[in-house]
C-alpha cells in the first residue's frame, strides 16, 4: 500500500468505528479503543513509508483528477498533524475508556461519546488530507458539529448553553468561509489548492475572499478578541471532551488557516499578517492574565489555551515577506509548539478531570493535599506545565526557541518580548495551581468526600505529559518529517 492509500484508511477507519459504535452501543468502548489502536498501526506504517520515500503525494479519489474530482494531498505537514491527532487521540481514548464507565450512573448519555469522538476523528483526519477548499469546508463542518455535540454531552446547564454558543459561532465561521470559497471559485473556476495557488492574483474578489475566509477561521480557532466562546465551552465539557477540544479541534482550523495563508495568500501582501500578529500578541497577554484570575482549574486551563493560541498566530507576521531558511524555521517552530501544546494541554485537562473526580470540584484554592493523594496526576500536570511555560527540555521550549530566534533575527523585538513575557505569565498561573496543590490544609473534612481515581486515568494523563517533555529531546526527526515534500516551497526564492 502506498502512503495515500494508508491516508484514506485513516479516514475510513474512524468512520467505520463511529458507525459500529453507534449501532452496537453496549460495546462502544471496546470498538472505540480498538479503532484507536488500528489508527495508530496504520499511521505508523504510513510514517515509515513516508520517511523511506520522502515526497509529497497526490491522490485522485475515484481516479477523477483535479479540476473536476476531489484530490487528497499528503506531505510532511499533513503527516505531522495526523500524528498529532493520533497520539493525543489515543491518550484521550484510553482515559475515556475508563472514565465513562465510572460516570455511567450519573450520566446516561456517555455511550454517545464514542461515536461522536470517532466522527470527530474522521473529520480531523480528512481535514489534514484534503487539498480542495470546498472539501475542507465539509470537513470543518464535520468537526464543528461533532465538537458541539460532544460539548453538550456533559448535559449540565452550563455545558448546554456553551454548546449552543459554540454551535452558533462555528456555523457563522463556516458560512463566512463558504462565502469566501464561492468568491474564489467564481474568480478562478477551481477549488483545488494547487491549481488555485498557480492562478491567484491580487484582485478585489481575492481580497474579499481572503478577508471572509480569515475571519471565519479566526472565529473557529478563537483568536483574541473572538475567543469569548472558548473558555465556557472547554471549561464545562466532560474532561476527555475538553482535552480533545483544546488539543485538536481549535488546531484543525488553525492548520487550515496556515495552509491557506502560506499556499494561497502569501503573494498577496497586505496589512493582514501584522494584524494577526498583533492580535496574537494581545491573546498571549490577555489569555494569561485571565488565566491568573480564574478560581476554577478547568477555566484556568481553557484561558491558557487562549493564550497559547496567540503564539501560533505569530507565524503570520514572521513569515510574511520572508523567504528561505528564516520563514521555514518560523512555521516549523509554530508547528512544533502546536504538537507540544496538544500533548500538554490534553494532559492538563485529563489531570483536571482526575482532580474533579477525586474531590468533586475543581476550585483551585481547595486543591490542598492533592500532591500526596494523586501523585501521578500532579506529576502529569506539572510536566505539562513545563512544556506550556516553554522551559527546557520540553517540546514547548523547542518551538518557542525557534520562534524567538526568527523574531530576533528579523529585529522584531516586540514579538520577542511578548514570547518571553508569555512564558513568565504561564509560569505564574501554573505555579498558582501547583502551589495550592502542595498546601497543608485541614485534612479532616476533605477526606470523607473523596473518590478513588483509577490508575489508568492517571497514567493516561502522565503519558501525554511525558510525551510533551520527550518532544524536547528529539526534535530533529520531527522537523525532518515536517520538511518532507517541502510544504510551502514557494516561500523559498525560486532559482
Amino acid at each position: 500500500m502506498t502512503p495515500p492509500d494508508l491516508g484514506i484508511a485513516l479516514v475510513i477507519l474512524p468512520l467505520t468505528g463511529a458507525l459500529l459504535a453507534f449501532l452496537i452501543h453496549p460495546h462502544a468502548r471496546w470498538i472505540g479503543i480498538s479503532t484507536a489502536l488500528a489508527i495508530n498501526i496504520v499511521l505508523a506504517w504510513l510514517l515509515t513509508d513516508l520517511v523511506t520515500s520522502p515526497q509529497s503525494y497526490h491522490y485522485a479519489l475515484g481516479s477523477w483528477g483535479a479540476p473536476l474530482g476531489i484530490e487528497l494531498h499528503l506531505d510532511g505537514l499533513s503527516a505531522f498533524m495526523l500524528m498529532m491527532s493520533a497520539v493525543t487521540g489515543s491518550g484521550v481514548s484510553l482515559y475515556a475508556f475508563t472514565c465513562f464507565r465510572m460516570q455511567s450512573t450519573e450520566n446516561d448519555h456517555s455511550p454517545a461519546f464514542w461515536p461522536l469522538w470517532l466522527f470527530l476523528w474522521t473529520g480531523i483526519n480528512a481535514l489534514f488530507l484534503s487539498a480542495d477548499i470546498f472539501n475542507l469546508y465539509v470537513t470543518l463542518e464535520l468537526i464543528g458539529l461533532a465538537a458541539v455535540a460532544l460539548t453538550a454531552l456533559a448535559g449540565s446547564r452550563a455545558a448546554l448553553t456553551s454548546a449552543m454558543r459554540y454551535l452558533l459561532i462555528s456555523l457563522l465561521g463556516s458560512l463566512c468561509y463558504l462565502l469566501g470559497v464561492a468568491l474564489l471559485y467564481h474568480t478562478y473556476a477551481t477549488v483545488d489548492l494547487t491549481l488555485l495557488a498557480g492562478r491567484i492574483t491580487a484582485q478585489p474578489a481575492t481580497q474579499a475572499a481572503l478577508a471572509l475566509i480569515t475571519v471565519g477561521l479566526l472565529l473557529k480557532s478563537a483568536l483574541f478578541p473572538l475567543h469569548f466562546w472558548l473558555p465556557p465551552a472547554h471549561g464545562s465539557a466532560a474532561a476527555p471532551v475538553s482535552a480533545l477540544l483544546s488539543a485538536l479541534v481549535v488546531k484543525a482550523s488553525f492548520y487550515l488557516l496556515l495552509r491557506l495563508w502560506l499556499e494561497l495568500f502569501h503573494p498577496i501582501h497586505n496589512l493582514m499578517p501584522d494584524l494577526l500578529g498583533i492580535l496574537g500578541a494581545a491573546a498571549i497577554i490577555w489569555g494569561s492574565l485571565q488565566a491568573l484570575r480564574q478560581i476554577r482549574l478547568k477555566l484556568l486551563i481553557a484561558y491558557s489555551t487562549v493564550a497559547q493560541l496567540g503564539y501560533f498566530f505569530l507565524v503570520f507576521p514572521l513569515t510574511a515577506g520572508q523567504s528561505g531558511e528564516m520563514s521555514s524555521s518560523a512555521w516549523q517552530g509554530v508547528l512544533y509548539m502546536l504538537l507540544a501544546h496538544a500533548l500538554a494541554k490534553s494532559a492538563m485537562f485529563l489531570a483536571a478531570g482526575n482532580i474533579q473526580l477525586f474531590g468533586g470540584h475543581d476550585r483551585i484554592i481547595e486543591l490542598d493535599h492533592i500532591a500526596q493523594r494523586l501523585p501521578l496526576t500532579l506529576a502529569a500536570f506539572s510536566l505539562a506545565g513545563i512544556s506550556i511555560m516553554g522551559l527546557p527540555p520540553s517540546g514547548g521550549f523547542i518551538g518557542k526557541w525557534l520562534l524567538l530566534e526568527v523574531a530576533i533575527a528579523q529585529g522584531r523585538w516586540g514579538y520577542a518580548m511578548i514570547i518571553l513575557l508569555g512564558g513568565l505569565l504561564a509560569a505564574g498561573y501554573i505555579f498558582k495551581v501547583i502551589g495550592y496543590a502542595f498546601t497543608q490544609g485541614q485534612m479532616e473534612d476533605s477526606i470523607s468526600e473523596t473518590h478513588p481515581v483509577p490508575t489508568v486515568m492517571q497514567w493516561a494523563a502522565l503519558a501525554l505529559a511525558s510525551g510533551s517533555i520527550l518532544l524536547g529531546w528529539y526534535p530533529a526527526p520531527l522537523l525532518e518529517l515536517l520538511a518532507i515534500g517541502d510544504p510551502f516551497h514557494f516561500l523559498h526564492p525560486s532559482p
Binding site: 463542518e141 448553553t161 449552543m164 452558533l168 471559485y185
Partner: protein
C-alpha cells in the same frame, strides 16, 4: 449578466440581514433562523455565480456545492434545535445567559 449580479447581490444582502439578526436577536430560535437565512444567502451567491457565460451553459459544480451545503445546514439546524429543546427543558428559558452567570454552573 445583470440578473446574475442582482441574484448575487441579493445573496450578499440576505447574508448581511441574517448576520444582523444573529447579533441583535436574543431568542435562540431567531438566532437559528438567522443562521439559516445567512446560509440561503451564501447558496444564492453560489447558484447565481454558476452562470459563467451569457449564452447560458451553466457550471454544475456550484450546484453540487449548494446541495452539500443544504445537507450541512439541515444537520446543523437539527442539532441546534435539539440543544435548544434541552436548554428549554432544563432552564425554562430560550435565551443564552450572559457570559458571567453561566460560569458558576
Amino acid at each position: 449578466m445583470t440578473t446574475t449580479l442582482l441574484y448575487a447581490l441579493t445573496g450578499i444582502g440576505l447574508f448581511s440581514l441574517g448576520l444582523h439578526a444573529l447579533i441583535v436577536q436574543s431568542h435562540l430560535l431567531h438566532k437559528l433562523l438567522a443562521i439559516n437565512v445567512m446560509s440561503c444567502g451564501v447558496f444564492l451567491v453560489l447558484a447565481s455565480l454558476a452562470a459563467r457565460t451569457p449564452e447560458g451553459s451553466v457550471d454544475p459544480v456550484p450546484h453540487a456545492m449548494v446541495i452539500t451545503g443544504i445537507v450541512v445546514a439541515v444537520a446543523a439546524t437539527a442539532l441546534g434545535l435539539a440543544i435548544l429543546l434541552r436548554i428549554h427543558a432544563l432552564t425554562g428559558k430560550v435565551r443564552l445567559p450572559d457570559a458571567n452567570d453561566q460560569l458558576d454552573d
